[in-house]
Amino acid sequence: MAFEIGNPGLATTVQDQGRTGHYNVGIPQSGSMDQYSAELGNALVGNTAREAVLECTYLGPVLTTDSDAVIAVTGAPVKVKVNGEPRPQWSRLLLKAGDQLAFGVIQGGTRYYIAVQGGIDVPEVLGSRSTYSLGGIGGFKGRKLEAGDVVPVGAPLNDGKLPPAETVPEEFRPVYAKEQEVRIVLGLYDHRLTEEGLGNLLNGEWKVTPVADRMGLRYSGPGVSWKEREQPFGAGSDPSNIVDAGYAVGSIQIPGGTQPIILHRDAVSGGGYAMVGTVISADMDVVARAAPGTETRFVAVSLADALEARRDFAERRNKAWAALGANR
């Protein structure tokens, strides 16, 4: 079976849990930006966490299914319409062959996900179905969807068995707030910031700018200052420059000291800007949900705190799957 794409939306791509093991040659992780929302969509339709979904950015697609299908729409709040009739989000929906799925205007956040029983069945490239548009690999022909594309859907898993619950309980749905606290572990090149610069990073009000995509999010705010030094050989002339190095996913760089950039899942794998800290793994989905204008505070935590938050996040995720009676 397949989905036929009428209107592709702004930037609709096939994503899964991402592609690791090739960051050393510049191939980024990719994968759903909001992993938590994507995998609960999978849970609702009887998939494992590994199946590929469609990631919709702000403006979703209009698509028609050529067969009966079991789907769920999770992630950022949006009106879901089947043949023009409103349907609930975070719930399992049954489509009949020929049904049309469309969306209203996004009510907050940035991205929502269409999960389908059996998963989006594009070929795996380097172990993943995720789209890496810049390199033209993975997903549907290595690119975002276009009108007329026919996107294949896989066969149901586990003989089509579906979990008992049809809806993700309210308590397990993420919040899409206009203010966020993002926990970071300071490090990498934070010693290159002045005391005032570090103070601005941690105490300043930062706001997500419109320059935010799958590669990274840029923030405006008070700016930071760097310690003056004689630059090391090969490092470039600005005090925010370093000899080109690998970039941690989630790391924060502040080119020229003006606007911090958090690198996300399609990040460039390296470059010549000093990173001053890294978003903890448990908060990467939180960052992914930040729409332009979101007021953000960066809160420094220890590595031990980050690991504890990681465990708490895994536990919350597992509880959500359990609440649906689904197996991850």
Partner: protein, 301 residues
Amino acid sequence: MTTEAAVLPGARYTWGGDEFLFVEVSEAMSLPANFKVMSIAGRLSEARLPGIVDICPANASLLVRFDPDILPPEQLETAVREIERDLMSHQERPLETRIIEVPVWYEDPFTAEVAQRFREGFHQEPEGSDIDYAAKVNHLKDAAEFIQRHHEQPWLVSMVGFVAGLPFLFQLVDRDKQLEVPKYLSPRTDTPKLTVGHGGCFGCIYSVRGAGGYQMFGVAAAPIFDPDQALADFKDFMVFFRPGDIVKFKPVTEAEYNAIQAEISAGTFRYRQAPVTFELSSALADPEGYNRELMEALNGI
């Protein structure tokens, strides 16, 4: 002789959140620093520690991604520190690698066209070409002398990344002969695919079209990233370059460039390449003499 590697101070270890360990071997770029990075990366890879996700050697630092649910951070740090200590007390292992001839059309029309669109506010000297500017800041007579210096001595792939398959290149010459050119004042939103670029002390070849801030000197004639894996050189992997590769640029004319395009279309193009053993101490003792030896490997291929 004592290699410079022996006098590099210990690396700096720091965390990139709960999934990345960053090991800064040196703040400054140098051949010994890069060699040490590659040595640590190689041994860490051989150790096959469960829980290691990515090992990314860079110019003078190493980034390791790990799964802390399998490999606790302190255990990883201990393992890397042991490798580093072990390297300091042992003889340098030579690098088994290859030398590759990369044909380049210098002063090509593709990069010239894009450069024209990014002058005022982007470039230090909007009225001239990137290569004229590069010659001037390196106190060379003209573009021709810069091109000569660019291709007569080979380069080491000191890092692969930024985008898929992009090699960073460090020329195998004494520091006072290193070509250094500032990046554009503000990055371009466009760079032709296969642009041969330069920023700071690093050369590069842009594997895909996209944003970039390096000065543009020419265009490489053959692909270095091939997701379809159509050419024989990409049979094993879609990315051509690996850290430690040695690159010899070869200037080609428009006619030679076109002939190579025809070979690529026919699926017959192969890079001229040969296996070589690279020894850091020899490269540091007499760079140009040692480069002649390395380049001889390409003769008769």
